[in-house]
């Protein structure tokens, strides 16, 4: 068996006396799509952000392709080059054009020259259905378009892993479909993905594994069928009832 892409061992995080992540063990294998669900405040976003070092770790190990990024003095920038991240609020760079957003990192980090990066970016923007927005300013785009640019921006670094932090939560309902379609395509192409989302339908359809968080811990995990059809934990049962009702 190959080494897991991500392996978290007994990971903890404190904010003062408040322990928001209480001993999480989680493995993500190559090509696997893992969806993190749970009520807000359960720690799923924090766990996701720990996977690329945006949140510091109080205790435990976080191995990315075997490198423990929870240790001090790790070259976190090198690790991040291989992990794409998509945010709830897109975080596009308003001072750059759409093309500039997508080409910034590969050019700045010397992975490609400008011409090569431009060509690659046009291709990626075509894939996410925004070939005609290459020269647009982020401010002129709709939420759904912004999020697809953000995905293209992350993909331009040719990451091994993509992290999605509630990618559709800030979108108008009619925009959600376009973004999910792009993510679906990525999953089908074999990208390793960790997704925090409230889109249960999408989770059911795309996830290889669903992980349920409560109070900073993993309370239950398994295939979508196991979790959605036969929830064991009482908290998961009541969570699903509330979410599916809505």
């Amino acid at each position: 068996m190959t080494q897991p892409r991500i392996e978290m061992k007994n990971v903890r995080k404190h904010y003062g006396h408040n322990e928001v992540v209480q001993g999480v063990d989680l493995k993500v294998e190559d090509n696997e799509v893992v969806v993190l669900i749970g009520p807000s405040g359960a720690g799923k976003s924090t766990v996701l952000r720990m996977m690329n070092g945006l949140e510091t770790t109080t205790a435990g190990e976080i191995l990315i392709d075997g490198t423990d990024i929870a240790k001090p003095h790790v070259n976190i920038d090198k690790v991040r080059e291989k992990i794409g991240m998509v945010f709830q609020h897109f975080n596009l760079f308003p001072n750059l054009s759409v093309l500039g957003n997508v080409t910034l990192a590969p050019v700045e980090l010397g992975l490609m020259d400008k011409a090569q990066a431009d060509q690659e970016a046009r291709h990626l923007l075509d894939v996410v259905g925004l070939a005609d927005k290459v020269d647009a300013r982020p401010a002129s785009l709709s939420g759904g378009q912004k999020q697809r640019v953000a995905i293209a921006r992350a993909l331009a670094m040719h990451p091994d892993i993509m992290l999605f932090d509630e990618p559709t939560s800030a979108l108008d309902p009619e925009m959600v479909g376009d973004v999910l379609a792009v993510m679906r395509k990525l999953a089908a192409d074999g990208m390793t993905m960790v997704i925090v989302t409230h889109e249960m339908g999408f989770a059911k359809e795309v996830a290889d594994r669903v992980v349920f968080f409560g109070d900073g811990q993993i309370l239950e995990q398994g295939t979508p069928t196991q979790l959605f059809e036969h929830p064991q934990h009482e908290r998961l049962q009541s969570f699903l009832e509330k979410v599916l009702e809505a």
């Binding site: 690329n52 945006l54 920038d77 090198k78 991040r80 080059e81 291989k82 992990i83 794409g84 991240m85 945010f87 609020h89 975080n91 596009l92 760079f93 308003p94 001072n95 910034l104 990192a105 700045e108 980090l109 953000a150 921006r153 992350a154 670094m157």
Partner: protein
């Protein structure tokens, strides 16, 4: 860090005492006619100036005059920034202890002047009144020594003109001033009259030099003075400014140094070159000051957002100290305080630029830090999550957005810097404000000259605002 900055800014400056042992730097007042004042050609003239120049010619040394104002001159002497001070300085035991004082060269004393129509006749009539004096002068000492006895209060000013003005406007009912100086002022047109025929507290003027010059400069001065008195040159110099001692002959002598046409346009014409020179100095200070303060401000502001506690501490402390200090205190500290510490003279222009750099730099650093801080935190997270190191993320993503937020603050700071250069007049820099003071010290036309100076500032600020708005439009 501060010491390093001073070291850099003073590095390579000419050391006057090394380059020519024969040239002495002498500090003097800017507004103490008839002893020192700028004539209508903006040349420094007066009894002190002519006398020491004549002594220097006899004894074979050169004088470099520094008209910086009385207080600044004395402080410069204390700090070793100048070799001596000649500014109608009374010989007192305190000064004899601190400096090497020359033989007396002029006998003076104190005059009490009041408004022309005032009923005050003598010291006894001062009960309950307010008396204006110039700071650090023998007149001020005399006022303080007698205010309890005669029951008056005092108010102090830095310039003679302000002292007289306070009496003519009625804020004070009398002023004490050195006798010949008061007579000169009245001859020039100050609407006051002297109440006493003979001076109070008669005293002698002397030249103060550094204790270290007791064996050379002081000896030469005393020898030269003796020669000038013997050969009649001394009397000629005094008569050139005071006539035969009568008010009428003094007025006649005074007229020669004055502008002929006293209208607004006449004064503007007569002082055009002088005001222009002041404006140029103001612009030099402003441009160099803005450049240095902007560079330092951006660097310190960036230091304040680096994810490092020590760097942030340095930035916060810098802002705290230099934004907290009044600029005039900072300027005097650097010009007259620091040289004693580092044993190197700091030229007034350099001291002025350091002051602007630190003070305006602190304000700039504060809004640079704030501007960067106001960029959405998600921007840094997004840039870093792409693998960009902190510096690259800062340069390509955060700074371009932060700078746009800061543009109005920069424009505001440039305008403030221009105005703040006027504070540097305390260092004796001949910028616009100091130029105005000097012209007024000669012709006592406060209202007209300050109007001119104010208008010049407004014109420059208007031009600066237009330029800034034009740049702002280009950037957006």
């Amino acid at each position: 860090m501060l010491a390093g900055l001073f070291a850099i800014m003073t590095w390579g400056m000419p050391r006057e005492q090394v380059q020519a042992a024969e040239t002495y730097t002498i500090g003097t007042d800017v507004t103490f006619a008839p002893f020192e004042f700028a004539d209508k050609h903006n040349q420094y003239v007066g009894i002190d100036i002519d006398l020491l120049n004549a002594i220097a010619a006899t004894e074979g040394f050169k004088v470099e005059w520094k008209p910086v104002g009385f207080n600044a001159a004395v402080q410069s002497l204390e700090a070793g920034q100048v070799d001596g001070v000649m500014a109608g300085m009374s010989i007192t035991p305190e000064r004899q202890a601190k400096f090497a004082m020359s033989d007396p060269y002029y006998q003076s004393g104190i005059a009490m002047a009041v408004a022309r129509d005032a009923t005050i006749k003598g010291l006894k009539d001062l009960r309950g009144k307010r008396v204006a004096v110039k700071t650090g002068t023998a007149s001020a000492d005399f006022a303080n020594a007698n205010k309890a006895k005669y029951g008056f209060t005092t108010v102090t000013f830095d310039d003679s003109n302000n002292v007289y003005q306070d009496v003519t406007t009625g804020n004070s009912q009398a002023c004490f001033e050195d006798f010949p100086v008061m007579q000169y002022g009245i001859a020039t047109g100050v609407a006051l009259r002297v109440t006493n025929k003979t001076p109070y507290a008669a005293n002698n003027y002397g030249i103060a030099v550094l204790q270290s010059h007791r064996q050379d400069l002081l000896v030469k001065i005393n020898a030269g003075l003796k020669k000038l008195r013997a050969n009649g040159q001394y009397d000629k110099i005094v008569a050139k400014y005071l006539g035969d001692g009568s008010q009428a002959s003094q007025a006649a002598k005074t007229k020669k140094t004055q502008e002929g046409d006293r209208s607004f346009w006449g004064l503007l014409q007569a002082n055009r070159a002088t005001l222009w020179a002041g404006l140029v100095q103001t612009l030099e200070l402003t441009v160099v000051g803005i450049l240095c303060a902007t560079v330092v401000g951006i660097l310190v502001g960036l230091l304040g957002v680096v994810p490092n506690k020590v760097a942030q501490g340095v930035a916060t402390t810098f802002i705290y100290i230099f934004r907290g200090l009044p600029m005039i205190v900072l300027a005097l500290f650097i010009y007259t305080g620091v040289p004693g510490l580092i044993h190197t003279k700091i030229p007034a222009f350099v001291a002025g630029i350091i002051t602007l750099t630190l003070n305006e730099g602190a304000y700039t650093a504060a809004f640079v830090k704030g501007g960067i801080g106001s960029v959405d935190g998600g921007q840094m997270e997004a840039a870093r999550s792409l693998g960009l190191p902190w510096t690259k993320a800062m340069r390509r993503v955060i700074l371009p957005q932060g700078l746009r937020i800061m543009i109005p603050s920069f424009i505001n700071q440039f305008i403030i810097t221009l105005k703040d250069t006027s504070i540097l007049s305390v260092l004796g820099l001949l910028e616009l404000t100091q130029t105005g003071k000097i012209i007024i010290a000669r012709n006592m036309e406060g209202f007209k000259i300050w109007t001119m100076v104010a208008l010049i500032y407004l014109v420059i600020i208007t031009l600066l605002t237009w330029l800034s708005n034009y740049i702002q439009k280009k950037v957006r």
